[in-house]
């Protein structure tokens, strides 16, 4: 008779295989895949319109960055929510992901003032630091 207290390799493996509170269908995966392709095309197209080599001569670095950044974040959301099953597992794993969502931007925020905003005296051009 097996010991009910002893950890079982198959128990752990079975835990997630059967513990589907929700289920994501193949059709949903195909729709998400299509959405990702559309978003990739949109990023490429946005860069052609607002990038430095704009085909309609309206380069705008800020608009380009914001639009492409938003599209990239949306694509990452689609992959994480559907492909990585966060739609089902979010309540189980959010405790890992929330701290890094705070720490990751902090790396950039902490270094920004010292390196990006540092005063630089440019000879001949700038009179103000």
């Amino acid at each position: 008779m097996t010991d009910a207290h002893a950890p079982s390799a198959t128990h752990d493996a079975a835990h997630d295989a059967h513990a589907h509170e929700g289920h994501i269908s193949d059709k949903t995966f195909m729709k998400v895949f299509g959405g990702l392709l559309v978003c990739t095309a949109m990023s490429y197209g946005t860069n052609r319109f607002f990038g430095s080599e704009s085909i309609i001569h309206t380069p705008n670095a800020v608009v380009n960055f914001l639009l492409i950044g938003m599209i990239a974040c949306f694509k990452a959301f689609l992959v994480m929510y559907f492909f990585m099953h966060l739609k089902i597992d979010w309540r189980k794993v959010f405790v890992f992901l929330i701290p890094i969502c705070i720490l990751a931007p902090m790396v950039i925020i902490v270094l920004w003032p010292d390196i990006v905003l540092a005063w630089r005296i440019l000879p001949e051009t700038s009179g103000t630091p």
């Binding site: 009910a4 207290h5 198959t10 752990d12 493996a13 079975a14 835990h15 997630d16 295989a17 059967h18 513990a19 994501i24 193949d26 995966f29 195909m30 998400v32 895949f33 990702l36 392709l37 990739t40 990023s43 490429y44 946005t46 860069n47 990038g51 430095s52 080599e53 001569h57 670095a61 380009n64 960055f65 492409i68 950044g69 599209i71 990239a72 990452a76 992959v79 994480m80 559907f82 492909f83 990585m84 099953h85 597992d89 189980k92 794993v93 405790v95 890992f96 720490l103 990751a104 790396v107 950039i108 270094l111 920004w112 390196i115 990006v116 630089r120 440019l122 000879p123 001949e124 051009t125």
Partner: protein, 402 residues
């Protein structure tokens, strides 16, 4: 009827309600996210710390947006096939599982193949960390009169005037006018970028050894590119040398201290070269012009490394098969960031390919049947692969687009 005691351990849920494998994988992915955050965050910080417009653009560093987009499609497709493989094995369809895993495996290999091709193009143009000549601005340059013809590259107004001298005024035809405007804008932006690089060059220490090394390296690359032309020019050079010697001897008869002037020497040499250069292709002629400036001793002043870099950049843009090492301001910062980010990403892709290769072998041997172990293995490997995809989703726009 006997009754067993209640086994409470079955009902008490300790810790987070995920399997050990999934917990371990998510913890690992979180550490990997911080790892890539360090790399990507550093890239963002370094890029924003440079003067506006000075950071190398994709075409400066031979980055193809199309190849990046293809790689993005390949990884997204492979992510899709992984979830389909997981779905197939959950249904017990081993055959489809193996097919999807095989597609994922080959997508990974294709991604690395495209990456290898991109890296080769970079290496051929000398775009490597620490090997790019991006500190060619001699501090003494700032004191030199920038209205000299040689410095028209560095002033947008002069660059525009030079362009108009070479291409004439804006054509009336709309289609030609669009192309004209685009080229003029490109020339203005390029000049502005160099001007900003010169003005901010105080942060990049100038090393005369690097400048000399760069000139020698460019000369060697030019020799490789125009070797047939140089062979054809040898007789003309010899003939010019003989004529100069004869002319000098003639002069010395009248005055032993007399010497042939620099202009006269140039005139003799150019006359001998003219018919051979006229028959050469435009690429050979322009490359030879730069080679001559690097090697001739009859110029008013030696060409500076910065001028060589600017000329090399123009030639590289005009003739794509020419493997020169152009001057790219902040090129070393860019290439260090690029190779660090994409290199580590490629290593992660390679790791995923190895695991998928092992799973594929299991599948081909018929061992990929539906059981909790295999389903969980595919899910966890898929989690890793999706993470690699998410990293590329951010790398692609940061490096290739914005």
């Amino acid at each position: 009827m006997t009754t067993a005691t209640v086994d409470e351990s079955k009902y008490i849920q300790r810790g987070i309600p995920v399997s050990n494998g999934k917990l371990a994988m998510w913890l690992f992915l979180v550490t990997e996210i911080m790892f890539f955050t360090g790399l990507i965050g550093t890239y963002i910080i370094l890029r924003k710390s440079t003067p506006s417009g000075a950071w190398p653009e994709p075409r400066d560093v031979h980055l193809s947006e199309l190849l990046g987009a293809i790689n993005t499609f390949v990884l997204i497709f492979s992510s899709f096939t992984v979830v389909m493989a997981h779905s197939a094995i959950s249904r017990g369809d081993s055959k489809k599982t193996v097919i999807y895993i095989a597609i994922t495996f080959f997508c990974g290999v294709l991604f690395l193949g495209i990456k290898a091709y991109e890296y080769t193009a970079k290496f051929q143009h000398g775009i490597m960390p620490g090997r790019m000549a991006d500190n060619l601005v001699d501090p003494a340059l700032r004191e030199i009169d920038t209205t000299l013809p040689a410095y028209q590259h560095f002033d947008p107004a002069q660059a525009e005037a030079k362009f108009k001298r070479e291409h004439g005024e804006r054509p009336p035809d709309p289609a030609q006018a669009t192309a004209y405007d685009r080229q003029l804008e490109s020339v203005r932006k390029s000049a502005l970028k160099f001007k900003q690089a010169i003005e901010s060059s105080g942060r990049h220490p100038y090393d005369p050894n690097v400048a000399e090394w760069y000139k020698r390296d460019t000369k060697n690359r030019l020799v490789e590119a125009i070797a047939p032309l140089l062979d054809r020019l040898k007789p003309a050079e010899e003939s010019a040398g003989n004529k100069i010697k004869a002319a000098e001897e003639e002069l010395k008869k009248a005055d032993p201290k007399a010497a042939l002037s620099r202009e006269r020497r140039r005139e003799i040499v150019e006359k001998e070269r003219a018919p051979i250069l006229a028959a050469a292709s435009e690429k050979e002629r322009q490359c030879f012009e730069l080679y001559d400036q690097l090697t001739s001793t009859d110029l008013l002043r030696p060409i500076t490394a910065l001028e060589v870099g600017v000329e090399a950049k123009e030639l590289s843009e005009k003739f794509e098969d020419l493997h020169l090492r152009p001057y790219i301001p902040y090129g070393n910062l860019w290439s260090s960031s690029y190779f660090a980010m994409t290199g580590f990403h490629a290593v992660h892709v390679l790791g995923g390919i190895v695991v998928f290769g092992i799973i594929l072998l299991h599948g081909l041997r018929g061992k990929l049947v539906k059981n909790p172990w295999n389903v969980s293995m595919l899910e966890l490997t898929g989690l890793y692969w999706h993470f690699v995809d998410v990293v590329w989703i951010f790398l692609f726009p940061l490096l290739y687009l914005v």
